[in-house]
Assembly symmetry: C2
Homo-oligomer: 199 residues x 2
């Protein structure tokens, strides 16, 4: 028997520093990999099929949706994107965990479709701090900042199914908390029950 | 708002090294303390009321049971022992966690009575290893070892309500896992939801 992996869904508003926390938390680990999405978008220069994305045509994508082969899916700019069930479940059964950075709607779809997903929501200590981080980018108009803050509030309200909240105040603390969640989830009773049965 | 503490119940068969793991995991921390039990047993030389135990007479103890003031209780050698609700809940509301080393029956009582308990079961990698550790003590008869192993198997079967399993193979790993559980439990959605509401 092997301790199975998990599918970690990490969500949070734009500007919260999600990817910085993830990168720090998984640095140097070979037991966690990023999820590879399926998309109907055309590959860009240098993108590799099966690595950056699984590139499929719309017909194949729609069939995958119908056949329940995607754990979640959504459309952006008329392209379909989804999380392939087979890819995730193969990794997990080998004891690898998979991490996916998607929005709250996707997280909720995944939670409903699986019993091996763990949903982590990352927030700033205050909404003011989120505004400051968006302003610090220097690339956002006042209009787009306002719209991102509105969207953040909506995501907060919809995050009710999430398992954990990480407050990204200090990056080191946030990354340590994410690592602790990875370790604790390995220790879950269901994941180690087989020890009790083998004895 | 403050992040609340948890009541950690740590159970596991005699000989598994429970207290060694706990001691290593909580060393140097001021955010976790041991639970102080209520007992009808007479104080021994040097024992301090309110520190080693809360010493009460049988009438008081029985009244505490009737009034729901104990989260769990049991009788050993005709003395009553129990976990006082008020003590635990005061610590937890201050953001302290409380750790209690009790058996599976007590753990299940606590789980049923609270929404802030986290149950951790500690095991050896195999039943053979548990036998070896009991033999290594040099104080157990073959008869008492056999009886302890039988009891361990029964506890394994009854541990179904537990949240986590720690396999005490390597002490450092086991203590790190316990510490990761402490950290992850602080990050639980319910425990940090107030961040989403204050913004």
């Amino acid at each position: 028997m092997v301790e199975k992996g998990r599918l970690y869904v990490v969500s949070g508003p734009s500007g919260v520093g999600k990817n910085t926390v993830i990168d720090k938390a998984i640095a140097g680990r070979d037991d966690i990999c990023f999820s590879t999405s399926v998309t109907t978008r055309k590959p860009r220069e240098g993108e590799i099929d099966g690595e950056d994305y699984f590139f499929v045509d719309r017909e194949t994508f729609d069939k995958m949706v119908r056949d329940g082969e995607l754990l979640e899916h959504a459309t952006y700019v008329s392209n379909g994107y989804g999380t392939p069930k087979a890819f995730v479940e193969e990794k997990i059964s080998q004891g690898m965990s998979v991490i996916s950075d998607i929005d709250v709607q996707g997280g909720r779809q995944i939670k409903a479709a699986t019993d091996y997903s763990v949903l982590i929501f990352i927030v700033t200590p205050t909404m003011d701090e989120l505004r400051k981080r968006l302003e610090a980018r220097g690339t956002e108009t006042e209009e787009s900042i306002r719209s991102r803050l509105e969207r953040a509030k909506a995501e907060y309200a919809e995050s009710i199914d999430y398992d954990y909240i990480i407050v990204n105040d200090d990056l080191d603390t946030a990354a340590e908390e994410m690592k602790a969640i990875f370790t604790a989830e390995k220790c879950r009773y269901k994941n180690r029950e087989f020890y009790l049965k083998e004895v």
